[in-house]
Symmetry: C2
Subunit: 374 residues, 2 copies
């Protein structure tokens, strides 16, 4: 259980292809996990996700704790049974959401007090509480409770790291279920020394997998890629590496090139709800008037259900008319786009031509700004 | 083309089982047509509708004329191609929607002037205009432009009938496409003499099918059933009979018992959006707190995707969290419920046991109030 098997490692880059074994099936890596915040990937059914090729779904501890309540999910058989998803699941710790609440939360050494965004009621998360909730939910992969600080404030990130490390140990110590893998989260902002310190600390706690937190929170792409470059050689080679909250196509490619195995992000589902399709080289805003009578699919080369059956003109109509089917069809396309991209990269790693694939793919995207001075 | 073949007629009731041949396939009757107002059955994909067993979809001329415009639909290949529905389609005439606009519309002998509910712009529908739009849309079955008057105002219904009959003739005369069947609509409110007059008039125009309009507009169920009883013996036996806007399960059964072949209604999709599931004997409001931890499906005996995979507790969660999947799953169930009901009735007619089936089915529904004095 929770064995991580490396199938191929690209000699030209840090990229790896592997298998992560979980109680609900094998996750082929590198993998992109669509996000089902409230125990549903917005606008898709489990069978649609299986058809698209999703092998890992993320759900949010903060949201499920508040509604319907982790006890409800537990009593209805756990998250897999509750949402009828037969494959591997991952829950976050709730930390990221709680810290995002800003003014309404208060941190101390023991945990965080926060107010519900639903009804304003007051709640407290501690490392032990987060693990308890995640054990009620029952995902295959659960996450240590951490603080996600602003990435470029050295003093704050350094101070926060003490808490995050202490909390990681407490999470490990309070965990009781054997059928869940607890991943540690490496913080440290965009600072090489702090990232190294955090990676070393987490490795001592011997987790079955390690996440990279605190990126994709407003720092530039160059900073993100540079931080991944720092971490690549110091993260455990034989354990899965999970870059949290990253889902832009070019970031997935750059992450895989730097040895990342797991990604998750709300981006494909969120863009879909805003009428935006992910395509090679960028995005297509389908609400644009120029698509009124466009008979072409979103992407001619795409084999998803949406592109196989519907025109841009029809999608534009659905979006303008605020029809649910517009969300369904664009979400299908966007999630398919990212999952197909991961599959192509996995094949390229195994065949040994990832660098060529990545260069061709990234050529269509705007160049990344050079790294700023820090 | 547009042949109506009767497979079986129940000797104990007026019920019939048949086939209606259209350019896009055969419609087995009796049939329930889900409504795709804006060229999409809300929250369902065409493949979902096929899987559920839908064989006829209705779309609305008024809505498509305003958005995206019938010229857009025509230029994108017509309604079948536009919405990627391979099977038979029906469009209404726009009359019902226009008359529903109330204060903002003005009727004269030639047609109706009305204001768009979208932007307040002024438009004019005439019988010729309605047929022209429906020819641009290209459904298999199109409807004559009629007035749908209040069912219980004798003087008004009688006066309105003159217009509706004149307009039906003008629709027939202006129709150009041979691959569309134009149905006449019988009006006359709840009045036997007016219904008889209208049925006789329409029959003289020799339409390939006849609709019963002006019911399910606020009159009681007893009045509706009594009107169907009046029409059953006087409507052409060898042509399909279409009861417009009726979709409550008990009304479908009562309609089939009275010789109706085709039904349509927004009820199953609209109820779904309000969290209500259609079940034997009535409805289930799934937002109710009592379903919080209910592990049962909506209906234990139901074989739809929703009931095969999800609990009432999960559905309640989706509805409370305002998740699109809640709409998708409830719509799937409700449309499946009605289409399965039609299939069961069709089989019962062919096997000769419809009366037994109907009695058992209707036993669970509240009795119908006796007919009021008119």
């Amino acid at each position: 259980m929770f064995e991580f098997e490396l199938v191929a490692v690209d000699p030209l880059t840090g990229a790896r292809a592997g298998h992560f074994y979980t109680p609900h099936g094998i996750i082929p890596t590198p993998v992109f996990a669509p996000v089902g915040t409230q125990a549903t990937v917005k606008a898709l059914r489990p069978r649609d996700l299986l058809e698209i090729g999703a092998s890992l779904i993320l759900s949010n501890t903060y949201h499920l704790y508040l509604r319907p309540g982790d006890d409800v999910v537990r009593d209805l058989g756990g998250l897999h049974e509750f949402m009828s998803w037969p494959g591997p699941l991952l829950t976050d710790s709730g930390g990221f959401q709680v810290f995002s609440l800003g003014e309404t939360r208060k941190i101390d050494a023991d945990g965080v007090i926060f107010k519900s965004h639903l009804d304003g009621s007051t709640h407290r998360f501690t490392p032990e509480k987060s693990i308890g909730i995640q054990e009620n939910l029952g995902a295959d992969i659960i996450m240590a409770f951490d603080e996600c600080p602003p990435s470029d404030d050295y003093a704050y990130v350094k101070e926060s790291l003490v808490r995050t490390h202490d909390w990681a140990r407490r999470c490990r110590d309070s965990k009781r279920r054997d059928d869940q893998a607890l991943f540690g989260i490496i913080q440290g902002g965009i600072f090489a020394d702090l990232r190294e310190e955090s990676a070393n600390f987490m490795q001592q706690l011997d987790f079955p997998g390690y996440a990279i937190g605190g990126l994709s929170v407003g720092e530039g792409k160059a900073d993100m890629y540079a931080t991944l470059d720092i971490l690549e050689p110091i993260m455990p080679f034989d354990k899965p590496r999970y870059l949290m909250g990253v889902g832009a196509a070019e970031d997935l490619v750059n992450g895989v090139l730097r040895g990342v195995d797991i990604f998750d992000c709300v981006l494909p589902t969120r863009l879909a709800r805003h009428g935006s399709a992910m395509i090679h080289g960028g995005r297509l805003n389908l609400t644009n008037a120029k698509f009124l009578k466009d008979p072409e699919p979103v992407e001619l080369t795409c084999s998803c259900y949406t592109c196989s059956n519907f025109s841009r003109g029809y999608l534009r109509h659905l979006l303008k008319a605020n029809e649910i089917l517009g969300h369904i069809l664009l979400t299908t396309h966007n999630v398919h786009f990212l999952i197909e991209l991961m599959g192509k990269m996995r094949k390229a790693i195994i065949r040994g031509n990832l660098r060529d694939f990545a260069e061709t793919f990234l050529k269509e995207y705007p160049p990344v700004e050079p790294l700023s001075e820090n």
